[in-house]
């Protein structure tokens, strides 16, 4: 990859550098990302390489003798496994004969049911399915994903890790993630030996947060299986597939060992999916000049052939490699849709941070969030970036509120919900206490009240005062050596007063016995109902069909904690109420040529007490008065009851005033200077952006009004400039404040003098 503007060495006089506009653009965060020139030789090509094979399938006596241009005798291990197990030969002839465009249209067309598409795709070779997916444009991918995902109800998965493997923090963070709605939690370790401790701590925390949350610990294949066998994790995901034989065996597995592993998990009732994703082969220098989508197509075909119920793909660790080439991000989504087309659960990437740019990383995820996937992220970092031991995610604790707001903006279910602020505190406390109790029960570690309190309040591991990494490793070693199982943890929770959590953990063990979580795309609801391809099949066939949040779920999506109603604002304003402004009878016109009237809006000092900038209204008035006094003017405050229009308030004030100059002030802080001979919508000076006005600005407006009254022409005061999203920040409050003003308005009521 080439850094931007790395000028070639030259012996001539240095060429002038880029102009300021370009230097400025260079300095933006997106230019920290690497962008590669497409290069099929290195596999740096997203959707189709000139070296991708022609799709093709030859059958003889019900056996595959040639696939995608390779004869059976030359099949590598991946071809051989797919040819032997992966293709539905009863439909293969029809599927391979279908044109690429016809197949692509079937994926998008809502009138063709999902079942028909997956039935046909079962007969397509890897090269064929890759070609079909490469035809889908972004909006078509959204349609295809909406229709083809296995489970009707979308969901999401979180990472829960920290730099210290601190069990109390892991438990508190797992409970928090569960409270935010994540139905799968994935942990891992910076120190491999800590794995059993992390698995136990996260499982306890998850059980505190919600019933039915699946937990995994991503470590080396054999250790992960062992954790599963002992009940410490309830699903597995780190079963990696690669698209070339070389890279696959470098990963120390073969399709057969992985297929066996898949059955091993199922034999213990443990849900599992495999992991693949574009870019992995490129990173390992083994792409064999194929496109990323074609290599991934081999992985997905293999996943189906092995009998895995689902695939985690969409780049994963190679996401930024895919993101570096043209159409790479589109390719990541095409991979997800490919998994769905093979009738498998899609855990859709959006985990590894693929850009330094907030805009790019959001754009990468948005179509998938809009379409809905079995799991939108295969690892939303529910903890802060620095605590994510997988590396920072595309979405992190820093972004949870953003994500919740985006769900609400589009009215889509991205799997998350707002967790009640008070409930989070209580859950974190209970999770940390439960972990402490279990560790103490088994003599694994003794934690202090201070450590519990620190973990409960911590926003991340950097907030923990000190920790003892040896203690964690010791605890993990004891779990490993004493042969503890999750059933023992159930007992410990019960004995130490955590009965509901004991119940929930036992339920997770009992789920294995029933086996329903082995079916495609299975998750558990908090009521312990299994949602899967079997029990909750996606039935999208166009508008008005498919998944729609229930009214309760929609309300949950809508109810972000930052929302405010007029009533909320009224209460907020009432907290600042005072008796500083008092009515002093009807206002009349006066003749003093040094007089300036300050007209205020109906709610000023009645229901509204603080301006949008946070300044008390009374203080704004005092500043105006002080400015006028500085200029030797006489001032009067008059409240107008019959209008909330600032121009009319200012003009009416000017008409009452002896000098013919008036100031208009709305309670929210907007202010202007008016003169009695001007049209209502005209003015001499205007402060239109109330949220940025300070006491000094009102003082200056008072001074200027005084100068106008004396016949001068002062330099107009200007709105302080801001490049912040000031409207986004204040418009909802403006609407509420205007509503309050409107409610105070009384037609026909005369102006009223006020004393301050």
């Amino acid at each position: 990859m080439i850094p931007p503007h790395d000028d070639p060495p030259t012996t001539r006089a240095a060429a002038p550098g880029p102009v300021g506009r370009i230097r400025f653009m260079d300095a933006q965060r997106v230019n920290l990302d690497g962008f590669a020139v497409e290069n099929p030789e290195l596999g740096l090509i997203a959707l189709s390489s000139p070296y991708d094979p022609e799709p093709g399938l030859v059958l003889e006596d019900g056996v595959v003798t040639e696939m995608d241009g390779v004869k059976a005798a030359d099949f590598d291990a991946i071809d051989a496994f797919i040819a032997a197990h992966g293709l539905d030969l009863t439909v293969a002839v029809e599927a391979m004969a279908l044109s690429d465009v016809a197949a692509a249209r079937m994926m998008v067309d809502p009138s063709i049911p999902r079942s028909e598409v997956v039935w046909l795709c079962a007969g397509m070779t890897p090269a064929k399915l890759a070609r079909v997916l490469a035809l889908l444009r972004p909006a078509e991918l959204v349609m295809a994903m909406t229709k083809l995902r296995a489970r009707r109800t979308p969901s999401n998965q979180a990472h829960v890790t920290n730099r210290l493997d601190d069990p109390l923090l892991l438990a508190a963070d797992a409970a928090t993630a569960a409270a935010f709605g994540f139905r799968e939690l994935e942990t891992t370790v910076p120190v491999l030996a800590d794995a059993p401790s992390n698995a136990v701590a996260v499982s306890i925390g998850a059980a505190v947060g919600s019933p039915g949350v699946l937990v995994q610990c991503s470590v080396e294949e054999a250790l992960e299986l062992e954790l599963g066998l002992r009940g410490f994790v309830s699903y597995a995901e780190t079963v990696s597939l690669y698209g070339t034989e070389q890279v696959f065996t470098d990963g120390d597995d073969t399709p057969w060992s992985k297929a066996f592993l898949t059955s091993a998990y199922a034999s213990r009732g443990i849900k599992m999916r495999v992991s693949s994703g574009a870019g992995a082969e490129v990173l390992m220098g083994g792409a064999e000049r194929r496109s990323m989508l074609y290599l991934e197509s081999r992985c997905v075909a293999l996943a189906r052939a092995m009998g895995a119920q689902g695939v985690q793909n969409g780049g994963i660790d190679g996401a930024s490699v895919a993101g570096s080439v043209p159409r790479g991000v589109r390719g990541l989504m095409a991979e997800n849709v490919m998994v769905m087309a093979r009738n498998l659960e899609s855990c859709s990437g959006n985990d590894a941070l693929m850009s330094e740019s907030d805009v790019r990383r959001t754009a990468r995820t948005l179509p998938i969030l809009l379409a809905g996937s079995d799991f939108i992220c295969s690892g939303f970092g529910s903890i802060q970036r620095y605590d994510n031991m997988f590396g920072p995610s595309n979405w992190n604790a820093e972004d949870i509120d953003d994500y919740l707001a985006i769900q609400r903006d589009w009215g889509v279910d991205g799997g998350l919900r707002t967790a009640d602020t008070g409930a989070i505190a209580a859950l974190r406390e209970r999770a940390a206490q439960a972990a402490r109790a279990v560790y103490s029960w088994f003599g694994l570690a003794d934690f202090t009240d201070e450590q519990v309190a620190a973990a409960v309040d911590a926003a991340g591991s950097k907030d923990l005062p000190g920790s003892d990494p040896v203690a964690v490793t010791n605890a993990a070693r004891l779990i490993q050596e004493t042969g503890l199982t999750m059933a023992d943890v159930v007992t410990a929770l019960q004995e130490t007063g955590f009965e509901p959590e004991a119940e929930r953990l036992l339920d997770m063990l009992k789920v294995r016995v029933g086996g329903d979580c082995l079916q495609t795309a299975a998750i558990l609801t908090p009521e312990m109902r299994v949602l899967s391809l079997v029990t909750d099949p996606n039935d999208y066939t166009g508008p008005g069909t498919g998944y729609e949040p229930t009214p309760e779920r929609q309300a949950e999506i809508d109810a972000i904690r930052q929302r405010r109603s007029v009533e909320d604002l009224r209460r907020e304003q009432a907290a600042y109420a005072s008796d500083a402004l008092r009515p002093a009878g009807p206002a009349v016109q006066r003749g003093d040529p040094r007089e300036v009237v300050i007209g205020v809006s109906p709610a000023t000092g009645r229901d509204i007490w603080v301006t949008l900038s946070g300044l008390p209204v009374v203080e704004a008035l005092r500043q105006l008065l002080a400015g006028l006094e500085e200029e030797g003017c006489v001032a009067r405050i008059v409240r107008f009851h019959d209008t909330i229009d600032l121009g009319m308030i200012g003009l009416s004030a000017a008409r009452l005033s002896g000098s013919g100059i008036g100031i208009g002030l709305q309670a929210k802080g907007t202010a202007l200077i008016h003169r009695r001979d001007l049209a209502p919508l005209a003015n001499l000076e205007l402060y239109s952006i109330a949220p940025v006005l300070s006491a000094e600005d009102y003082r200056l407006m008072g001074v200027n009004a005084g100068r106008h009254a004396k016949g001068g022409t002062p330099e107009p005061a200007r709105n302080p400039y801001t490049d912040e999203a000031i409207e986004a920040r204040y418009h909802t409050r403006v609407v509420s404040l205007v509503a309050i003003e409107r409610a105070c308005c009384r037609a026909g009521a005369g102006p009223e003098e006020l004393t301050l």
């Binding site: 057969w256 060992s257 297929a259 091993a264 034999s267 004991a502 294995r512 016995v513």
Partner: protein, 118 residues
């Protein structure tokens, strides 16, 4: 009613029973017949490969953890000779794991051709 590997109805596995030490590992283990039933469901939902996986799993459900780990290890690249894989398949046949035995034999043949044997 779902029965565990031990034959015990899973509903009878309560926290109290666990605490009293009245729950064995086999009371929390899936029964091969349950896996067969799940295989039928997977077949009905358009995924014969998932069904085949569940049927291999039903065989493995009978094996102790150590044996499962051992077979997995033997199937990894260049861990076993072709002869060792043949012996392993025979051993699996001896434990009524015929589908897994077939998988190991298939692996043996491909491994020999693709230089994946020890």
């Amino acid at each position: 009613m779902t029965r565990a590997y031990s034959g015990r109805p899973v509903e009878s596995v309560t926290v109290d029973a666990v605490r009293r030490g009245e729950v064995t590992r086999d009371d929390l283990r899936i029964h091969p017949e349950t896996l067969e039933a799940q295989a039928v469901v997977a077949e009905r939902h358009g995924n014969p490969q998932l069904a085949a996986n569940f049927r291999r799993a039903a065989e493995l459900a009978l094996l102790p953890d150590e044996d499962v780990m051992r077979v997995y290890e033997a199937l990894r690249p260049r861990r076993s000779t072709a002869a060792e894989l043949s012996d392993l398949a025979e051993w699996l046949d001896g434990r009524s794991c015929h589908r897994n035995a077939a998988l190991v034999r298939e692996a043996r043949d491909v491994y020999a051709r693709r230089d994946l044997t020890r």
